[in-house]
């Protein structure tokens, strides 16, 4: 996308560390999250879930539960739309099981009652008869010939013949001749890696409040990363017209990709329709773990050849991902991201999407990419160690840059990988001495970033202030950056713009807040909407002065004649133009709708020091530095926050977090005590370096920053831990038992 007016310097508001507009509400407890609203006559709902990993549902008997005082109604699959196909059918199957329960925690029925306690009591009284079926939860076992078939006919045409029916999609990409490349190498390293499923771990469980009448007109309040998507999907699931459901996004207590799907929202709507009462449905933490999107678990093989002076001659990777009982594991992203940082003549990557009796995977911050980096960057690290080469030097020698043909096809535009590597190389962290028992690891990471359908409206008020309506839920301070961009264009103070996340009735379709797209796409649309409003302001000034519209410019919040030839008029400030707008042509509103496609890919380099206690297997992260290309940081403080947050989640993934399944196929650690996300005492300060290599696809050069920050940590930490422990760690998380087992294996063969 080309821009008529690209701005790269002389920013007044952009780049400032402004305070977020929702700050006071959030430090005083006033902010309304998913579970924080009520409606008159509201009922509370609870969901009945399968305790079995794989079972046929023989009978659901609600007789005893219905007899409980205060119980108002039940829904099962029979209360949802029929005739859905493809992805929508999968989503409905996941929201409410049909003939089979496909994982421990799969919803099979729901109840609404006059209190949350009664609803929970009633749920326990619902009798479900199951015929238990054989199950499989491990990705490699699910591909074996004797594995139980989870869903017949789920595979698409991409899958090669002869694969198990649990393999449902296949991806292959690359270029050159990898065999010739390996033959040209001085050293080839090949290894296999495993990662366990992790959860996004947002602190706010899913919550919603639904109203839906028999006339199929409804209202829904929910915590989501994308309410237009919720509107569309719920309408499908309920068999109603999309436009008849108005969805409002609450404040959202974390998402990280996990709130891009629907889980409880269609259920609450179905109960509301059945009982003719508003219904509130809030998940418990264990429901969040058992039934909402964890990541895929993976099994990966990577082979890389290198010359003795550090040139990669070929790279090959096979990535097997299970994504639960439904197609959709992001194996193509894993494959495509794996070698993306490097300029390779010969590269091949293969991906398998495999079904298992686990919850349907959902996106988690750069879905699929962190695992790929773990495997590839571990092998590169091993090559550097064996060839006695500096890991950053090697990465610089092979780094992708503008004009490089990427491992998965496209040719890169302006990118900032080299700049992140150089900044990492000169950062004091990289040359700081290590203590006994410590190791240092580095890794690069890549994420695509995304544009997507976007609609923004900016309405000027009579006093010259602006109401900015965006449709992308604010998951990390985006209302601040949107207001900054609008203020920059309008030439008014930051505080004079009120940015709101509007409901589905207010704007055109907005894709969910994912793909690191918000500051890029909603930001671009905000700038364009503001420029549209400025154009009208200039036209009003031109009419007042009786000169051509083209002879008016907008500077510092005022209309001015473009030069001496345009005429001699005093500047007209915005508030003078807006006060009279009712008499000069009506309300002044700028809007912009598009599907921008110039998101601009993003790279990062991380440096981490880890200390391993060889007695206990315990790892401590002692120093961490994130270097990432932000294109242009609209609000540097919040950019740093994204860098730090991604690193911290990566530390959890690398060291502690995992889904643990028993032989019975049940999730054994569905509480925060047992699924251990990093706590304050686990982490050091996380240093950040913002690199700014402008994205040619955004008027200010913005690249999304949210996701790339979680791509390097798994690998960087694995490299640091492997260095400190003196043994290569090939399985995540690197929990104390795994580190002890690796040390033991090394000592005893």
């Amino acid at each position: 996308m080309a821009f008529d007016d690209v701005k790269t310097d002389n920013f007044k508001v952009v780049g400032q560390r402004v305070k977020r507009p929702d700050g006071i509400d959030k430090v005083t407890g006033k902010a309304k999250f998913g579970a924080d609203v009520v409606a008159p006559g509201m009922l509370f709902a609870a969901i009945i879930r399968s305790p079995h990993a794989h079972a046929r549902i023989v009978k659901i008997d609600t007789t005893k539960a219905a007899a409980l005082k205060g119980v108002k109604g039940f829904v099962t699959r029979a209360d949802f739309a029929t005739g859905l196909k493809g992805g929508n059918l999968d989503i409905l199957e996941n929201v409410m099981a049909g003939e089979k329960a496909l994982y421990d925690g799969h919803a099979v029925a729901a109840v609404a009652a006059t209190s949350a306690l009664i609803a929970r009591d009633a749920a326990k009284l619902v009798e479900v008869e199951y015929e238990i079926l054989p199950h499989v939860t491990d990705v490699d076992k699910a591909m074996l010939a004797d594995a139980p078939v989870i869903r017949e006919g789920a595979a698409d045409k991409s899958v090669p013949e002869g694969m198990h029916p649990n393999v449902v999609r296949y991806h292959e990409s690359g270029h050159g001749d990898v065999e010739a490349g390996f033959a040209a190498a001085d050293l080839v390293v090949e290894d296999s890696f495993l990662t366990e499923a992790t959860h996004q771990g947002y602190i706010e469980p899913h919550a919603c409040l639904a109203q839906l009448g028999k006339d199929n007109k409804g209202e829904l309040w929910c915590c989501t990363q994308g309410h237009w998507n919720v509107q569309k999907l719920c309408a499908e699931m309920l068999g109603m017209e999309t436009s008849q459901l108005r969805v409002t996004a609450s404040e959202i207590g974390g998402g990280f990709g996990g709130k891009t799907a629907v889980f409880i929202e269609p259920v609450a709507l179905a109960l509301a329709r059945k009982t003719n009462r508003p219904v509130k449905l809030v998940m418990s933490r264990s429901e969040v773990f058992r039934a909402t999107g964890p990541t895929s678990s993976t099994s990966m093989d990577v082979k890389i050849g290198m010359t003795k002076d550090g040139i990669i001659t070929a790279g090959e990777g096979t990535f097997r991902l299970q994504g639960g009982a439904f197609p959709g594991a992001p194996m193509e992203f894993t494959a495509m991201c794996a070698f993306a940082p490097y300029n390779l003549e010969n590269v091949k990557q293969v991906g398998y999407d495999v079904l298992a009796n686990r919850p349907k995977q959902a996106a988690y911050r750069a879905p699929g990419s962190p695992m790929a980096a773990f495997a590839v960057e571990s092998v590169i690290d091993e090559l550097c160690k064996k060839l006695d080469l500096d890991p950053i030097e090697v990465r610089l020698k092979n780094a992708s840059k503008q004009g490089t043909k990427a491992s998965f096809g496209p040719t890169w535009d302006r990118i900032g990988l080299v700049e992140t590597l150089e900044a990492a190389q000169t950062h004091p962290h990289y040359s700081a001495p290590l203590k006994e028992g410590q190791g240092r690891g580095v890794s690069c990471g890549f994420w695509f970033n995304h544009g997507g359908e976007t609609s923004v409206t900016l309405a000027l008020s009579e006093d010259g202030t602006a109401q900015l309506s965006v449709g992308t839920p604010d998951i990390g301070g985006s209302r601040a950056s949107m207001a900054q961009m609008a203020a920059e264009e309008l030439g008014i103070p930051y505080d004079s713009v009120r940015a709101t996340v509007a409901d589905t009735a207010t704007l055109g379709y907005n894709e969910v807040s994912h793909g690191s797209r918000v500051t890029y796409a909603s930001g671009l649309a905000t700038i364009k909407a503001a420029r549209a409003a400025v154009k009208i302001l200039c036209a009003r000034a031109a009419a007042k002065w009786g000169i051509d519209e083209d002879a008016v410019v907008w500077e510092d919040g005022c209309a001015k004649p473009s030069g001496p030839n345009a005429g001699d008029f005093d500047p007209l400030p915005i508030e003078k133009l807006t006060r009279s707008m009712g008499r000069t042509g009506g309300p002044i509103v700028g809007h912009f709708e598009a599907t921008p496609e110039g998101a601009g890919v993003s790279f990062a380099t991380h440096i981490v020091d880890a200390e391993v206690d060889k007695e206990t297997g315990q790892t401590k992260i002692v120093r961490y530095t994130v270097v990432q290309d932000a294109g242009k940081a609209i609000n540097p403080t919040y950019v740093e926050g994204q860098f730090q947050g991604g690193a911290a989640q990566g530390i959890g993934w690398a060291l502690n977090e995992e889904y643990i399944y028993g032989e019975d196929g049940r999730l054994q650690n569905a509480v925060f005590l047992d699924y251990r996300i990093p706590v304050a005492s686990d982490l050091p300060m996380i240093d950040t370096v913002i690199v700014e290599v402008p994205n040619p696809g955004h008027p200010y050069g913005v690249r999304g920053v949210g996701e790339t920050s979680i791509c390097p940590p798994l690998a960087a930490i694995a490299n640091a831990v492997s260095s400190a422990a003196g043994v290569r760690l090939k399985q995540l998380p690197m929990s104390p038992p795994r580190i002890l087992a690796a040390l033991d294996k090394q000592a005893n063969g």
């Binding site: 006033k30 771990g201 469980p205 998951i475 005492s681």
Partner: protein
């Protein structure tokens, strides 16, 4: 139903509650004090942190009935009317919150820390807040906001 008389953020409050109802449910569903959040319901995340007679507790692990005769302080009571507590100011200034759902619990816990330990080390702050999960920030900016608040409060006193 049990009749309970208590004091919340300085106000006398009476309510009826089910014997199984948690203090968190009472605060949120009966009294409209939705600032305290339920992140886990098992005392692991700290988003529901309140103080009861000055002691920091997870309100999801306390029964509503246990509030009888006690003094409860929640996030809604930290600011003095229109005026934010310095800690709240510092959290906004340092961007010590992203989504903000853990923030009420972290503010209540931190206020409690600073009342007991006005000059905490970074390690003390990290261990005191180890019961308050934040998934967005990586804690860096939270720790900085707390340390700076502590320093400023010491200087002011």
């Amino acid at each position: 139903m049990i009749h309970v008389s208590t004091k919340i953020n300085g106000d006398d409050v009476e309510f009826l509650c089910d014997p199984r109802e948690t203090l968190l449910d009472t605060l949120r569903d009966k009294l409209g004090l939705t600032g305290s959040k339920e992140g886990c319901g098992t005392g692991d995340c700290g988003a529901c942190s309140v103080t009861m007679d000055g002691r920091l507790v997870c309100s999801c692990l306390v029964l509503g009935a246990e509030a009888e005769g006690k003094e409860i302080e929640t996030v809604e009571g930290i600011a003095d009317g229109e005026n934010l507590h310095l800690l709240q100011e510092k959290f906004i200034e340092h961007a010590a919150l992203q989504c903000g759902v853990c923030t009420p619990g972290i503010l209540v816990a931190t206020k409690s820390l600073l009342e007991k330990h006005p000059d905490p080390t970074e390690t003390q702050v990290r261990y005191w807040l180890a019961g308050n999960l934040c998934r967005c920030t990586g804690y860096d900016k939270i720790i900085r906001a707390v340390m700076e608040t502590a320093a400023d409060l010491r200087e002011a006193s």
